[in-house]
Each structure stands twice: as structure tokens, then as C-alpha cells.
């Protein structure tokens, strides 16, 4: 299993393709809470997979002022087709070239399989990781951990 960046670490900045002709960098989202969801692949063969689940739950993240980003090693065209097919309304970033470089910075790359781990990071408004979670690759972690983390952050800031 990978060793994820731990809470208290500054989230490494990155700039990745979000559509075939647009990039998105983490620093552009400074001032917002950000959930990074690294996942192995688009088109996982179950409905209600992790990304479609988060898409459905997104309004709950927004209540905590959090934006969610998905990251896998799939290319931007693949993400585009996948997002269109499943009506995904949040950005899916392509950690495609050099492959998995961002996942590696976060300790969330599975070298043996050449895909991202199923890993979650919650980043505060100042760009600091305040929660991270590594799920067994075959287990969709759901959203309860993310929402608990956002809730506790909100309570701390009160």
C-alpha cells in the first residue's frame, strides 16, 4: 500500500488537463476547500461507482464550501466521454503525462498497476491537507469520511 501525504502537509500544487483544451491547477482553487479523489479508472463496471456517487452527493460537499476534483491516469478525451455518459458535473483531471506524476507526489500511485490508488484528500482554504484516506483499491469508500472531515473542519473553524 502507498504512503499518502499526511494531514498537516501542504498540498502539492499541480496543473493538469481537465478537458482536451483546458488545464486546471490546484492553486486556482485557493480559498476554497477542495476534495481530491484519486481513483483507478473511468468506466468502472458498476453503476453508482465512486465518481457517479460523488456526482450525486456533490450538493452536500458544496454545503461545506468544498469543490471536488477527480484524478486518474485516464486521458482528457476519455474523461470527457466518461463525464458526458454519466452526467458528471465536477472536474475530472488527467494525470496522464507524465503518467501518474501528481498521484506520485501525493503518495497515491500504484506503481505495480500503473494507476492511481483509491485515495481521498481534503484540503483547507489555505491549501493544507487536513484529512486523507487510502481505501483498499476494490472498495469504494463512499462519502461519509469526507463529510465527517468537512464537518469537523467546520467545527474547528467556528
Amino acid at each position: 500500500m502507498s504512503q499518502l501525504l499526511a494531514p498537516g502537509t501542504t498540498a502539492p500544487d499541480f496543473r493538469l488537463r481537465v478537458t482536451p483544451d483546458q488545464d486546471l491547477s490546484l492553486s486556482e482553487l485557493r480559498g476554497q476547500r477542495v476534495i481530491l479523489s484519486f481513483y483507478p479508472a473511468d468506466w468502472s463496471p458498476v453503476c453508482g461507482d465512486q465518481i457517479t456517487l460523488y456526482n450525486q452527493i456533490r450538493p452536500e460537499f458544496e454545503k461545506y464550501g468544498a469543490e471536488i476534483l477527480g484524478i486518474s491516469v485516464d486521458g482528457a478525451w476519455c474523461h470527457q466521454a466518461y463525464a458526458k455518459h454519466n452526467h458528471i458535473h465536477f472536474p475530472l483531471l488527467a494525470d496522464f503525462h507524465p503518467k501518474g506524476a501528481v498521484a506520485q507526489k501525493y503518495g497515491a500511485y500504484r506503481e505495480q498497476d500503473g494507476v492511481c490508488e483509491r485515495a481521498l484528500f481534503a484540503i483547507d482554504r489555505k491549501g493544507m491537507i487536513f484529512w486523507s484516506y487510502l481505501s483498499p483499491i476494490a472498495v469504494n469508500p463512499g462519502a461519509d469520511g469526507i463529510l465527517d472531515a468537512l464537518e469537523s473542519l467546520q467545527n474547528q473553524e467556528k
Binding site: 458498476v46 453503476c47 453508482g48 461507482d49 465512486q50 457517479t52 456517487l53 456526482n55 450525486q56 452527493i57 452536500e60 454519466n86 452526467h87 458528471i88 458535473h89 472498495v139 469504494n140 469508500p141 463512499g142 462519502a143 461519509d144 469520511g145 463529510l147
Partner: protein, 180 residues
């Protein structure tokens, strides 16, 4: 291991005795093919344990990918308001390939309930709050897709098969079932 945050209670639809030693809770979506495939499996599991197992169902419609999931859930709740939840539930899963208003109205007609009543309930979202509440309890409990099962408040992460579910429930009962 994810824990059910809101235990099964009187606002839930439950089949089987109130004091059953094990309760199997399903979070499901009437348009989800995996839930549809599991429906007869869940019924077999119920037969296996009969009165020792309670079955509860909560809605988790993935409306972004399933056009009719929300209306199907509200139709089940409408029928449930008149005491016909489980029959409507079974019919929705058994007719999953033709979900849509004509089916929903046909189900209501079958129970001799008001079709206009259903149309009004769907138009006004009369049961939307109940469906939303179910969904949110699932979100906070680690529901990670559909179907997600909880056995006595613990998320079941095992295979979606008859044998595996029976094994997990039997382990809760600390009792080997005698009939399948």
C-alpha cells in the same frame, strides 16, 4: 468499516418481525440493474431465515444517471402511504425494464388507488422529502453505490451473492441455517 448512522426505525419500511435478531437493510435504486438482479436474491435470503430476519429498504436514487429512479421511489412511497409499499417495491423491481409513468400508474391502478393522486404526489414532490432523507442517511453511513447492504448497522462489503449474504447473516445469528 462503515456504521449505519440512523438505525432502522419506525419511519422505515420493514418486513419481518420487529424484534428479529438480524436486520438486513438495503439502500437501493429501482433503476439500478444490480439492485434489480439482487432483488430475487434478497427474497431468497428472506426465505432462508424467515422470522429471524427483518428486511428494511431505503431509497438511494442515482438521479444523475437514472431518469426514472426518483419517480419510482416516490411511487413506492405513495403506495406505502396506503400500506402497499412492499408490493409496489416488488413490482418496480420485477418490471425494471419498463419504468416510467405508465408503469407507475398501472401499479397504482392494480392497488385500486387514485391515479390522479399519484400524478399529484409526483408533481408536488409529496414524498420527495422522505426519499431525500433516506438518501442522506445513506450518504452519511458510507453507502457507496447501489445496492449497499447493512447487516445490523454494519456495512456489508462482501460479494453480492446469495451464499455470501447468507453466510454473513448466519455469522450474526451465530447459527447455521438449516434450509436454503
Amino acid at each position: 468499516m462503515s456504521l449505519l448512522r440512523v438505525p432502522v426505525n419506525s419511519s422505515d419500511h420493514v418486513q419481518g418481525p420487529e424484534n428479529a435478531p438480524v436486520t438486513l437493510l438495503e439502500y437501493g435504486d429501482y433503476e439500478c440493474p444490480h439492485c434489480g438482479a439482487m432483488h430475487p436474491v434478497v427474497q431468497r435470503v428472506q426465505r432462508c431465515f424467515s422470522s429471524r430476519l427483518g428486511l428494511a429498504y431505503r431509497h438511494f436514487p442515482l438521479t444523475e444517471i437514472h431518469e426514472y429512479a426518483e419517480a419510482a421511489a416516490e411511487t413506492a412511497e405513495y403506495a406505502g402511504f396506503y400500506g402497499r409499499f412492499w408490493e409496489a417495491h416488488d413490482m418496480l423491481f420485477q418490471n425494471q425494464d419498463r419504468l416510467g409513468l405508465p408503469l407507475f400508474l398501472a401499479i397504482v391502478r392494480y392497488f385500486e388507488l387514485s391515479e390522479q393522486g399519484l400524478r399529484d404526489a409526483l408533481a408536488h414532490g409529496t414524498f420527495a422529502d422522505k426519499v431525500r432523507r433516506d438518501f442522506l442517511t445513506g450518504v452519511r453511513s458510507g453507502v457507496n453505490g447501489t445496492p449497499t447492504f447493512f447487516i445490523n448497522n454494519l456495512r456489508y462489503d462482501g460479494p453480492a451473492s446469495y451464499e455470501a449474504l447468507v453466510g454473513a447473516i448466519a455469522a450474526q445469528l451465530e447459527y447455521a441455517p438449516t434450509a436454503a
